[in-house]
Symmetry: C2
Subunit: 293 residues, 2 copies
């Protein structure tokens, strides 16, 4: 199975390497050529002259780009090389509407499309342990399965086109609310003078616990927020959640509150820290309160 890869960013580069390890990667294309050339030297894969040429030469073509407009632009660039034997797998995080639009454009050329956003971060991409949430036909999912298995550990077919993106958006809403919970609780605990490590240990076993509490409350206890899930990236994803909710005529309170907090964090130089840095704002409430109460 010949597999191509487009989009060699922090995630994409590692995912392409895992495809190579599985003996699947045959060609790549990237907007900045140096990254593609460098991977070519490392792995022996071909650097295609353009996306359409790459598409014409492979069975599966993985995309891993940044935003909704990038996905649609890349699909258009692929179209001249699209063929009925091709399945395009888009691992970018974009809206479900963009996934449906991409699928429609490719279907006109008999090409299958699978939306397949991932979670697990750069570590998951490197270790091949990503969770991959897929939307598309059963046929597209089966065609892409060996490629998905080479990049991720948990691969789930959620339903028709767009359902992968809807599932990813659901996850990003969960993360927003949970980080609000953990940061607000930890700032309160600090203000109360509690021994924070003991609080994490005790409450981490109870009904108030969460992955973020167990794994990121310690960042808050140390007031040090090394990049795990960057504010900038979660903010981009919450923008997608905002747009998707707006299509239902809805504004989601937790999503909007978190986006406001992220604006402040990005404007004050914390956009590349882990999202647990939202603790800074909750903690600041108590600093201001202490001066005025």
């Amino acid at each position: 199975m010949n597999t191509g890869f487009i989009g060699l960013g922090a995630m994409g580069l590692s995912m392409a390497r895992n495809l190579k390890k599985a003996g699947l990667l045959t060609g790549v294309w990237n907007r900045s050529t140096d990254k593609a050339s460098s991977l070519s030297e490392e792995t022996g894969c071909v650097v295609a002259i353009d996306p359409a040429t790459l598409a014409a030469s492979v069975d599966v073509l993985v995309l891993c780009v940044s935003a909704d407009a990038d996905v649609l632009a890349m699909v258009d660039a692929i179209l001249p090389g699209a063929h009925p034997g091709l399945t395009v797998v888009d691992c970018s995080t974009v809206s479900a509407a963009t996934a449906r639009e991409a699928a429609t454009r490719l279907a006109a050329h008999g090409t299958r499309f699978l939306d397949a956003p991932v979670s697990g971060g750069v570590e998951g991409a490197r270790d091949g342990t990503l969770a991959i949430m897929c939307g598309g036909t059963e046929e597209a999912f089966e065609a892409a399965r060996p490629v998905l298995a080479a990049m991720g550990r948990t691969v789930t077919h959620m339903g028709p086109t767009g359902y992968g993106q809807s599932t990813k958006a659901t996850n990003q809403i969960l993360c927003a609310g949970v980080i609000q919970a953990v940061s607000e609780a930890m700032a309160f605990a600090k203000a109360e003078g509690l021994p924070l490590d003991k609080v994490i240990d005790t409450l981490g076993k109870g009904a108030g616990s969460s992955w973020y509490f167990v794994n990121r409350a310690p960042f808050m206890a140390r007031e040090n927020f090394p990049a795990g899930f960057r504010v900038r990236l979660h903010d981009k994803d919450l923008g997608i959640c905002h747009d998707m909710a707006a299509r239902h005529g809805v504004t989601l309170p937790v999503v909007e509150m978190t986006r406001m907090h992220y604006q402040t964090l990005m404007q004050t130089g914390h956009g590349d820290e882990d999202i647990s840095t939202i603790f800074r704002l909750k903690d600041a409430l108590f600093s201001v309160g202490a001066k005025t109460s």
Copy 2:
């Protein structure tokens, strides 16, 4: 070790029974006498004529009442029987300030005080598996240890007087934020048409997960919210969090948003459902949106 118990509500009755099983319970007092008489017939413990008489006859006296004013009123009622051999263990959920006031009043009679709020609900009280978060001197904690061990599975000494309550309040803030996260995400997932059980299974293993997502998102998927942690009780606890934050000059966004939601739920007859019923309000956003968008 003679142990007395005051406050035979849904939690207290089960906790008193576990003290009896451990051979510690000698006497009880309750505002409504019938509950005390009934427990006396069941266990053979003595029903004291008043709180002070009970206090005079025991080494450890456990309180499990409703609100801050109840705790202080009960401490005042105990004072005539308070003695240097007595340790009062308050398992009620109240503010840290109330715990400190209770400790001060009892210390004047040489009596030790431990604030020891619990989590784990009626099931934990029944099964003796409560988590108990304690604040007080090392001496008070050690004096109460056999009693705590008979009622709970995880017993932690968090620090000086009030630290048990501060830890409990931290937990209630966590629960508020997490239920906001889970309900908002699940309402979005439903609106997107996702298969909800598959979403819970998939995202429950990831970084957006939490105890509430794994254990209460299924309530939302079925739109049925049997009483686990009642809205009415969490609302009372969040009122305590509000007051404690106000002492720092702070208003906490997640706490206040959740209290507003709970007001609506209680006013519409959902106050005795599990807090996952907040899903109703998030889901209603999408119903309204669908009509207007």
